[in-house]
C-alpha cells in the first residue's frame, strides 16, 4: 500500500472568491464524491481536503484559514503539492431519485461532484454573503438551485436550513438528503431529517493526523473515526455521536466546545 504523499504539480488555480481557490492537480484518481485526499504542503503541514472535482484531473477547493492554506494560496501553477488517498467512504448516491443537497460555505466542495453525478437534485447553497457563494455556475447546470445568504446580498436572506424546512412544509418529498458545512448547521439538518424521517448523509470534519489510515485516534467522535469510518455518516451513526455539533478535539487530543475548536482551526 502506498500511503505516503507523492508530489504532483498544480496545473491550474481558479480564484473562486477572495478567500477560496480551487487547485486543479496533475493527477487522476478513482474516487467517489465525498472522499478526501491528504494534501502535503512540503515543509509546512499536511491536511485533509475533499475532492471538488473527480473526473479528469482532480481538484481541491481551499479556503484560506491558517498557516498551510495561507501558503497554498501563495503558490502558483507548476509548484508541487504532495497527495495521498483517496480516503474515507464518500457519499452513497445509491438509489436516490429525489435528493436534496444542503451546503454551507466551503462545505459545498465535496457536494458539487455529487450534484453533478446525481443530476436533477435540489441544491440549497448557503453562504455568508454573495461574494462567498461557491460553484454557482456548475450547480445551475445540474440542479435546481436555491441560494441563501446570511445578509441577504444574494438569494434568500437567512440559513439554508430554513429553505429545507420550507420545502418540506410545502409538501416536497426527498428520499435522501446530503449535507456538508458548519457543524451546527449539519446538526440542524440532522434534526430536520429525523423529524421527517429522511435518510441523511452528512460529511464531518475533524483535525486529522494519520488521515485515512485509521490508527491514531485523533479524529475520533465518540470512538468513531471520521477518517476511516467516515467522513460521511448516516442518521444512525450521527445519533450515536453525542459530540456531533457539540465538541471536537484539539491537536493535543483535548476535547473542547466546537466554537473553541473552530477558533483554533483559524490559526
Amino acid at each position: 500500500m502506498l500511503d505516503y504523499p507523492v508530489g504532483v504539480a498544480i496545473k491550474e488555480i481558479i480564484d473562486e472568491n477572495a478567500n477560496v481557490k480551487t487547485f486543479v492537480l496533475d493527477a487522476h484518481l478513482e474516487a467517489r464524491p465525498g472522499q478526501f485526499i491528504m494534501v502535503w504542503v512540503p515543509r509546512i503541514d499536511e491536511k485533509p481536503f475533499s475532492l471538488s472535482k473527480i473526473s479528469g484531473d482532480i481538484a481541491i477547493t481551499v479556503q484560506k484559514k491558517g498557516k498551510a492554506t495561507e501558503k497554498m494560496h501563495e503558490m502558483r501553477a507548476v509548484e508541487i503539492l504532495g497527495i495521498r488517498g483517496p480516503y474515507g467512504n464518500g457519499f452513497d448516491a445509491g438509489r436516490a431519485k429525489s435528493a436534496c443537497i444542503v451546503a454551507g460555505g466551503i462545505g459545498a466542495a465535496p457536494l458539487v461532484p455529487l450534484a453533478e453525478a446525481l443530476q436533477n437534485s435540489t441544491f440549497i447553497l448557503g453562504a455568508r454573503t454573495k461574494n462567498d457563494l461557491l460553484f454557482e455556475d456548475r450547480l445551475r447546470k445540474c440542479s435546481e438551485l436555491y441560494i441563501t445568504t446570511d445578509d441577504g446580498s444574494a438569494g434568500e436572506k437567512g440559513f439554508n436550513t430554513q429553505v429545507l424546512e420550507k420545502l418540506l412544509a410545502g409538501g416536497k418529498k426527498f428520499d435522501a438528503v446530503f449535507c456538508c458545512g458548519p457543524e451546527p448547521m449539519m446538526r440542524h439538518v440532522f434534526e430536520i431529517c429525523e423529524k421527517h424521517r429522511i435518510p441523511l448523509q452528512a460529511s464531518l470534519e475533524r483535525f486529522m493526523k494519520c488521515g485515512g489510515l485509521g490508527i491514531c485516534g485523533q479524529c475520533s467522535v465518540n470512538g468513531i473515526r471520521v477518517c476511516a469510518d467516515g467522513p460521511v455518516f448516516g442518521n444512525e451513526m450521527l445519533g450515536k455521536m453525542l459530540e456531533f455539533g457539540i465538541s471536537a478535539r484539539l491537536k493535543t487530543g483535548k476535547s473542547v466546545p466546537l466554537k473553541e475548536y473552530a477558533e483554533w482551526r483559524q490559526k
Partner: protein
C-alpha cells in the same frame, strides 16, 4: 486517546488495551505528516501529542464500564517526572498496569534521544516508578540497541513486572522525489508493521533468554500466524497497533480466531505448551 476508543477496542475483541502515552504537560507533537504508510510498513513521528496528565485524569476518570484491563503509558524527561506521573496514575485507581516506553526513536527529550535506552537509565527510571506504585510495570524497549537482553535485565532487576518488546525501528526516512524533500515533517520516524516484525521476533527471542518476567511481543503482528511466532519466541502476550491499519478494528478478533484454528489443527490446548519453544 479517548475512553470511547478504548471501549471500541474492547468490543472488538482485544484482551487489554494501552492508552496513548501521557506526559506531565500538554503536547501538540510534531507537524503533519506525522504518520505515513509505505510498501513494507508504517512510519511515524507523532511526537507524543497528548493533552497532559490533568486532562487524562478527566478523560480516564472512570474506566469501570470497560471490561478489559487498561494499561497507562507514561513518558517523561527524567526519572523524577516518571515517578510523579506514576504516582498520579496510581492514585486514579483506573489502570491495571503502567507502561514505560523508554525507547522512542524520534522525540527530542524522550526515550532514546534522552538516553533512556541504556541499562543504567532504564534501571534508574524503573526503580523510581517502582517506589511510587504497586501496579505492574511494563518496560517497553527499543530494537535499535546492540544488546536488548542487558537492558531487559536491568529493568527486571529494578522491579519491572514485564518487558514490552519492541518499540518502533529506525528512525527511517522517506524522500518525495518530486518535491525532493523528506516526507515526514520531523524528517525521520519510527518504523512499525511488517518491516519491523522479524526484528521484533528476534528481540523477543533475545529478551526471553535474559529475563524471567513475562514478555509482551509487539511489532508487525497482523495474523494469528504472526502471533504464534511471537509466542514461540517467548512472548506471553502480544500487542497490535499497526495491524488496525492493515485489517481494521476487527484485527483483534481475527487474530484470536486464527490462533485458535492453528491450535486446534496442531492439537495445542494451551499456549504454555509452545511458549518459548523456538529456544529448544
Amino acid at each position: 486517546m479517548s475512553r470511547e476508543l478504548l471501549q471500541r477496542v474492547s468490543d472488538s475483541g482485544a484482551g487489554a488495551a494501552t492508552i496513548k502515552s501521557i506526559t506531565l504537560n500538554p503536547r501538540e507533537g510534531h507537524h503533519n505528516p506525522t504518520i505515513i504508510g509505505f510498501e513494507a510498513g508504517l512510519m511515524n513521528a507523532v511526537g507524543y501529542s497528548n493533552a497532559g496528565i490533568e486532562e487524562a485524569k478527566k478523560e480516564f476518570a472512570d474506566l469501570s464500564a470497560i471490561p478489559i484491563p487498561i494499561i497507562a503509558s507514561i513518558v517523561a524527561e527524567n526519572a523524577g517526572e516518571f515517578a510523579q506521573l506514576a504516582g498520579e496514575i496510581d492514585s486514579m485507581k483506573q489502570f491495571s498496569a503502567i507502561e514505560l516506553p523508554l525507547s522512542c526513536p524520534h522525540t527530542p527529550g524522550f526515550g532514546l534521544l534522552a538516553g533512556q535506552g541504556t541499562p543504567e537509565a532504564t534501571g534508574e527510571i524503573t526503580k523510581a516508578v517502582r517506589e511510587k506504585t504497586k501496579l505492574p510495570i511494563f518496560v517497553k524497549l527499543s530494537p535499535n540497541v546492540p544488546g536488548i537482553g542487558a537492558i531487559a535485565g536491568a529493568a527486571e532487576k529494578a522491579g519491572a513486572s514485564a518487558i514490552t518488546a519492541v518499540n518502533t525501528l529506525g528512525p527511517g526516512m522517506l524522500i518525495d522525489i518530486n518535491s525532493r524533500k523528506p516526507v515526514l515533517d520531523f524528517k525521520c520516524g519510527g518504523i512499525s508493521g511488517p518491516a519491523l516484525r522479524p526484528v521484533a521476533v528476534r528481540c523477543v527471542y533475545d529478551v526471553y533468554e535474559s529475563v524471567k518476567i513475562p514478555i509482551i511481543g509487539v511489532g508487525g503482528i497482523l495474523t494469528g500466524r504472526d502471533a504464534i511466532e511471537m509466542i514461540l519466541a517467548g512472548a506471553t502476550a502480544i500487542g497490535i497497533g499497526s495491524g488496525i491499519y492493515y485489517r481494521g478494528m476487527n484485527v483483534f478478533a481475527q487474530v484470536c480466531r486464527e490462533m485458535e484454528m492453528w491450535m486446534k489443527k496442531n492439537k495445542v490446548k494451551n499456549l504454555d505448551e509452545i511458549r518459548g519453544q523456538a529456544h529448544a
